[in-house]
Amino acid sequence: MENLLADSFERLLAQVSSPAAVRTVEEGGDPAALWAPIEASGFLDVLVPEERGGAGLGLADAFPLFMSAGRHALPLPFAHTVLARACLASAGQDIPEGPITLLPSDGLLWEAATFSALVPYGASADWVLTTMEDRSVLLPVAAATREGATARGGIRHLLVWNALPLESIISGPAQADIAAVSAAAHAALIAGATDRVVSMTLDYADQRTQFGKPIGKFQAIQSQLAVMAERALVARIAAGMACQSSDWIPQPLLAAVGKGRASEAAAIVADISHAVHGAIGITEEYDLQLYTRRLREWRLSGGAEAHWDHQVGEALLASETSALSFLCSALFPAARDC
C-alpha cells in the first residue's frame, strides 16, 4: 500500500511541482496555486489518526512522500505540514488550512520586545508550529514581518513578531521534540533531492563529451561519481532510519543520525554534481541549481553535521554501554512492527 501511496504522490508532484512552478514560487510568486492540488489530494493527513479523518499511517509510511517533496524541490512545507497536522491532531486541536512549518522551542528568540526566528519555509508557510513553555503554539506568519535569510531563491526567512496574537495559543501540552521531528523531515527531503541530483549528474556525465569521449568515461570523473552515489545511499538510509517510526514521532537519536549524515551528504553530493556539470550547472536556466540550492539550505536548517554529530556523541558518552552496544540498540530502529 505504501508504494501505491508513494507512487501516486510522486506523480502528483511531477505534475505540479515542475521546475517552472518551483521558479515561480522562488521568485516571490503566490504559492497558492502550487499548494491547492496538494491540499486537495488529502496527502496532508496521512499521519492524522483515522478517527480524525486521516489515513492513520506512521512516519515510515510518509517517508517516501517526504522524499518526493525533496526530489521535486517543492518550495512548500509539505513534510512539515504533514507532521504539524499529526501533532495538532494528537493534541486534539483544530487544524488550520494552509502550509505549516516547524520551529523548535529554542528557535524563537525574545529580544528587544520582539519574537524572531529563522524559519525554514518562512517564505511560503502560513503558520509556524513551535513550543513555548511546554505548550504547542501556532504562530500566524501573516502577523510577522519577513525578510529573506538566504541568497536568491532561498525559502528560509527571518520572521519577526512585534506581538504574538493570543488567540494562536493552543491549549494542549507539547507533543514531541520539534527539533527531532523537523530533523527527520529535513533528512528525508535531502534524501529525495540527492536522488534527483545523482540521476541528473549521471545522465549529464553520459551525454557530455570532452576530449572525444563522454566525461563519464574518465577515471577521475568516475571516482567522483562513485563517491556521489555512495553519499546519496548514505543519505537515503540515514533518512530512512530517522523516519522509521510507526507513529508520527521519530526516535530522537535516529533523527540526529539521519540529519547529521544527510547534511554531510548534501554538501558532498551538491559539490560533486556541480564539479561534474561545469559551467552549465551554475546557470539559472539549467535545473540542477533548483535542487542543489535546496540541499544547501536543508543542510543548515536546524543544524548541520557538527550539531547533530555532537548530540549523538554526547548521548553515547552519557550512556553506560560500549560503542558497539550503542550501535546495535540506540542507533538502530526498533523492529519493524513496533
Partner: protein, 383 residues
C-alpha cells in the same frame, strides 16, 4: 539503484545470541589489552577458535550433518559483530568459517564437503586464500601460478603473495590458471584446495610494519595435488571468486577494523569526565557513520541470504566502510592530541598508533579503492 536496499531487521532468535556471546567474550578476553585486541581478525589464537567451536559458533550456517548449526546468515552476523567489536583473536578460523566453508558447501563435491566441513566446524581445519601474486597486485587476471592436469591429479607450480596466515593454516584455496595464458585474462582460472603440508610447498612469512607476520609468500614447486583438489568447475574460478567477493565486501569485517580503538577512546573520554566539543562531535560522527553503514550491511546480508547478488551495492558499502575505518584513527588522533599532554593512557596511545599504522591495509583487502570505484561506475552504467 537506491531503491533496492530496504531496512532489514536481524531476527530475534539470532539477536538473542548476542548476550551469550558477549558474556563469553567479556570473560575470555578480560586480560587482553586493547592494543593487542586491535589486531582482531589478524589475531591468531587456535585455542580461542576451538572454544568458539565447542560452543557451536563456527560453521553456523552449514548443514547439521556436516557439523553446522543450520542457522541463517544473521546468526553469524551477530557473532561476527561481537567478536570484531571486542577485538577477539579470530583469524585462525575466520577465513574457513566465512569464505572457505560456504564455498565448499556451494561448489564442492560430496567427498570434499564431508571431509572439510566438519573439520572447519571443529576448528581443526584453518584455511588461507591465495589470490595475489608477485607483480599482479589488483590485476588478478595476470595470475601465472598454474595447475596442470596430470594422471595423479594436478601439478602445481608458481607462487602466491600477501597470503594471510599461511604458516598456521592447514589449507589454502588458491586461484590458479588451469588452462590458457595470462593473455586470456579471466578465462582458464580455477580454484584448488592445497594441503599446505605437501612436499614442494614453501612458506616464507612477511613481517608487516607493526612487526607482525600475518602475511606470507607461498611458493609451489611441483606440488602434486590429488584429482579432487579442484573446487567447482574447471575454468570457473573467476566467477566463483567474484561471488565470494560480494560477501567479503559487505560483511561486518568492513566496519569494525578500528572499533577497538573507538571503545578504548570512549572509555578514556568517560574517565576524563569532560570530553570537550571536538571529541563529542568526532565521536558522534564516527558512530553515526557506522550506524548507517551497519544498516546497509545488514540489508545486504539479508539480500545475500535470499540468494540475490547485490554486487554493486556491496562495493559501495565496502568503499564507504574503508573510508570510515581508515578515518577513525586519524580523527581520534586529532581529538586526543587536541589536549596534547593530558593522556597518560598508554594502552590507548598504543592502540591508536597501531591502527594508524595498519589502517592503509584496510583498503587492500577486497580490492583497492580505484578498483572498487571502477566497479561502482560500471554499476552506475558508466562503462
Amino acid at each position: 539503484m537506491l531503491d533496492t536496499l530496504p531496512l532489514t531487521w536481524i531476527p530475534e532468535e539470532d539477536e538473542a545470541l548476542r548476550t551469550e556471546v558477549r558474556r563469553f567474550l567479556d570473560e575470555t578476553l578480560k586480560d587482553i589489552p586493547d592494543d593487542v585486541r586491535a589486531r582482531s581478525w589478524l589475531g591468531f589464537d587456535a585455542a580461542f577458535s576451538r572454544k568458539l567451536a565447542d560452543r557451536g559458533w563456527l560453521g553456523l550456517s552449514l548443514p547439521r550433518h556436516y557439523g553446522g548449526a543450520e542457522k541463517g546468515a544473521f546468526a553469524r552476523y551477530v557473532i561476527s559483530e561481537e567478536l570484531l567489536g571486542a577485538g577477539a583473536p579470530v583469524s585462525a578460523h575466520w577465513i574457513a568459517d566465512r569464505q572457505s566453508g560456504p564455498l565448499i558447501l556451494k561448489y564442492g563435491t560430496e567427498q570434499q564437503k564431508s571431509y572439510y566441513l566438519p573439520r572447519i566446524c571443529r576448528a581443526e581445519a584453518f584455511f588461507c586464500i591465495g589470490m595475489s601474486e608477485p607483480g599482479s597486485g589488483s590485476d588478478l587476471a595476470s595470475i601465472r601460478t598454474r595447475a596442470v592436469h596430470n594422471d595423479k591429479g594436478w601439478l602445481l607450480n608458481g607462487s602466491k603473495i600477501w597470503t594471510t596466515n599461511a604458516p598456521r593454516s592447514h589449507f589454502m584455496i588458491a586461484l590458479v590458471r588451469t588452462s590458457g595464458e595470462p593473455a586470456d585474462r579471466y578465462k582458464g582460472l580455477s580454484q584448488v584446495i592445497v594441503d599446505l603440508t605437501l612436499p614442494g610447498v614453501d612458506i616464507r612469512p612477511i613481517r608487516d610494519l607493526s612487526g607482525d607476520a600475518h602475511f606470507s609468500e607461498v611458493f609451489f614447486e611441483n606440488v602434486q595435488l590429488s584429482p579432487d583438489a579442484l573446487v567447482g568447475e574447471e575454468g570457473d574460478g573467476w566467477a566463483q571468486v567474484n561471488a565470494e567477493l560480494a560477501f567479503e565486501r559487505s560483511g561486518p569485517e568492513r566496519l569494525y577494523s578500528s572499533m577497538v580503538l573507538v571503545e578504548s577512546w570512549l572509555r578514556y573520554c568517560r574517565r576524563r569526565g569532560e570530553a570537550g566539543a571536538l571529541s563529542s562531535v568526532t565521536l558522534g560522527r564516527i558512530v553515526s557513520s557506522l550506524a548507517v553503514l551497519r544498516a546497509l550491511s545488514i540489508s545486504l546480508a539479508g539480500q545475500l541470504a535470499r540468494g540475490e547478488s547485490p554486487a554493486m551495492q556491496a562495493t559501495l558499502v565496502k568503499d564507504l566502510g574503508t573510508e570510515i575505518e581508515q578515518a577513525i584513527p586519524r580523527l581520534i588522533g586529532d581529538a586526543v592530541a587536541n589536549d596534547p599532554h593530558a593522556c597518560r593512557d598508554i594502552t590507548l596511545m598504543r592502540t591508536l598508533a597501531y591502527l594508524e599504522q595498519l589502517a592503509p591495509s584496510f583498503s587492500l583487502r577486497g580490492g583497492t579503492r580505484e578498483i572498487l570505484r571502477g566497479i561502482i561506475a560500471r554499476g552506475l552504467g558508466l562503462r
